[in-house]
């Protein structure tokens, strides 16, 4: 006595199995994709290739994506906007920012004064987790995490960015073809 009711195949199902209709349909599907990729036409979405051609075509990252850090400058005078207040270094949970200030002599209303200005800014991207708390802490919108994502380097030392790199940005090869 069979314990399980196995449905008996109908004659049409038997014929389908005998002529391997499902196999032929499967082969047809892959062939359709192959031809579609060659002609860049497809019945489903109107294009044959669905993948992103990364180095050739830059991907659109999400609007909230945080990438490489940058120190913004005054667009007119090209002086740094950083006032060396150290708030970003305090805010950083990973402790990867070092703000090194220096004192300069300035004259305010005819009297000599000392002012704290930015000397060097060290940002260790290998430890950064891109939380952007530093960006939120910055009172002058100087430190900003941009959407640039190509941060790979050949050495560990390369991950430590200094003030010049943060201001100018790092040069990466941009492929066009």
């Amino acid at each position: 006595m069979p314990l399980v009711k196995t449905p008996k195949p109908t004659f049409a199902q038997k014929l389908k199995r005998f002529f391997m209709i499902d196999l032929i349909r499967g082969m047809g599907l892959t062939l359709k994709y192959n031809v579609g990729a060659l002609t860049d036409k497809d019945a489903v979405a109107g294009k044959g290739i669905y993948t992103e051609q990364y180095p050739k075509v830059r991907p659109d990252v999400a609007p909230r994506f945080h990438g490489a850090p940058r120190l913004n400058m005054d667009p007119e005078t090209h002086d740094t906007l950083c006032i060396a207040c150290n708030l970003c270094a305090i805010a950083c949970p990973e402790d990867c920012i070092d703000v090194i200030p220096m004192d300069v002599e300035i004259v305010v209303a005819g009297k000599p004064r000392r002012k704290k200005v930015l000397d060097e800014f060290i940002f260790d991207t290998s430890r950064c987790m891109f939380c952007a708390l530093c960006q939120e802490a910055c009172p002058t919108s100087c430190l900003e995490l941009t959407q640039d994502f190509e941060l790979a380097t050949y050495s560990r030392a390369g991950f430590v960015w200094n003030r010049e790199m943060l201001e100018q940005g790092r040069e990466t090869v941009k492929y066009t073809s």
Binding site: P2, L3, V4, K5, T6, F18, L23, G26, M27, L29, T30, L31, Y33, N34, G36, A37, L38, D42, G48, I49, Y50, T51, Q53, P55, K56
Partner: protein, 435 residues
């Protein structure tokens, strides 16, 4: 120019170097041919890997390699350079010498076969041996030895399992491969590869229309013989890491890779020679009659390459369509379907030939034209033969479906179904339900 000029131009040049005629005929020319064929096949194998990647990419709506050269055309060269410079690692407890030599056996057995394959007429075939097909089958099965040795010497459980699986698979599919060719050999009446092509030429027909069942059987068992998906159990990634070449790296691994693709090219070339008329193509021999002999040879060679490439495409197509068989299904197909259907095919082909010969001269029907070089049939004879071929496929399939119908009861699928409990009170063991 060489292509349009007579064949003797190069021969005369060689004669001027002071070598005797025998030396040129039996030593210099074969060396030139071997060099050409090895270069051609190596290139073909390299670009088969490229095409495999490209076609798999297209079938998955990707683009595949695009970065090295235009459309990634230099990718095989880059890959080869990378593999050449990689470390050649030998595991500590491996059997060093066997581990060392297994890849060479694989490559040599795949490349030796090309010595008898007729790429074209006249100078495009290295050696026309009168047991060509037998040599192909014998030498290509030595390739299995390489897989087993590689699996055994690696001292790794995955490699050993891959080697064991490959030996079992090869043993079961070798038989079907050999038997499936016999039907075509009944028409060709020779084992020489050039002779088979010439027989198809004098019949002016491709044997695939006489022997569709034989062609299908040869193709399927060829795929299984080459360990390609859906029969790639010896190197099943999801089960055995990489199968028999798990422990190989660098150039030695790439030799296995080359051997796999070369073996694919071998099966494609044999299928082309035996079933697709070799280098014959309609209207190409007009070049011969109009005096362009070398151009004729080159065009024939291209025809051969195109035909074999179509079979290679079927390989890629099947690989990227079908999932891998289970081990019992693999043995099932080999022993229950392919070998019996190859035997039935032999019987049916013999019967067809007998019918055609018996019908000749009966009530004014002429089926046989001449009998001087094999069986040359008239149009009605060909029609009968083609009808027998096509009907034979369905007769074979129906017969085997009928025979194998009950054997499905022994499948794991049904066994699993039987274990499930239906209408049995809870708390009783499953064993009771069997009685």
């Amino acid at each position: 120019m060489f292509l349009f000029g007579p064949i003797d131009v190069l021969n005369d040049l060689l004669l001027k170097t002071g070598l005797s005629e025998d030396w040129i005929k039996f030593f210099v020319w074969p060396l030139i041919q071997i060099g050409l064929v090895v270069t051609l096949v190596a290139l073909w194998v390299a670009y088969a890997t490229y095409l495999e990647r490209k076609i798999s990419a297209f079938m998955q709506a990707r683009l595949g390699p695009m970065r090295v050269g235009p459309w990634g055309l230099l990718q095989p060269i880059a890959d080869g350079l990378k593999l050449l410079t990689k470390e050649d690692f030998i595991p500590e407890n491996a059997d060093r010498w066997i581990f060392f030599f297994a890849p060479y056996i694989a490559v040599a057995s795949a490349f030796i076969v090309f010595s008898v394959i007729p790429f074209g007429p006249d100078w495009a075939v290295i050696a026309d041996v009168n047991i060509g097909l037998l040599l192909v089958l014998a030498v290509s099965s030595v390739g299995v030895l390489a897989l087993i040795l590689a699996g055994w010497s690696s001292n790794s459980k995955y490699a050993l399992l891959g080697g064991l699986r490959s030996s079992a698979q090869m043993v079961s599919y070798e038989v079907a491969m050999g038997l499936s060719l016999i039907g075509a050999l009944m028409f060709a009446r020779t084992l020489s590869m050039s002779g088979i092509v010439a027989a198809q030429g004098s019949d002016s027909i491709w044997y695939i229309v006489y022997q569709p069942a034989g062609f299908l059987l040869f193709l399927i068992s060829g795929i299984a013989e080459n360990n390609r998906a859906p029969f790639d159990l010896p190197e099943a990634e999801s089960e055995l890491v990489a199968g028999f070449h798990t422990e190989y790296s660098g150039m030695r691994w790439s030799l296995f890779f080359m051997a796999e693709y070369a073996a694919m090219v071998v099966v494609a070339a044999v299928a082309t020679t035996v079933y697709l008329g070799g280098w014959y193509f309609p209207f190409v021999n007009r070049l011969q009659t109009s005096g362009h002999h070398n151009l004729y040879v080159v065009v024939s060679l291209l025809v051969f390459l195109v035909k074999a490439s179509i079979i290679l495409y079927i390989y890629f197509w099947l690989r990227w369509t079908l999932p891998r068989f289970r081990y019992d299904q693999l043995m099932d197909i080999g022993w229950k379907w392919l070998i019996p259907s190859a035997l039935i095919n032999i019987v049916l082909s013999a019967f067809a030939i007998f019918v055609v010969q018996a019908l000749n001269g009966w009530r004014g029907i002429t089926t046989i034209d001449t009998l001087d070089r094999g069986l040359n049939m008239t149009k009605s004879g060909k029609g009968i033969m083609i009808a027998f071929g096509i009907v034979g496929v369905f007769i074979t399939a129906a017969l085997l479906a009928r025979i194998n119908w009950r054997s499905r009861d022994f499948n794991l699928k049904v066994q699993r179904r039987n274990i499930k409990l239906v209408n049995v009170p809870k708390g009783k063991p499953a064993v009771q339900a069997e009685s």
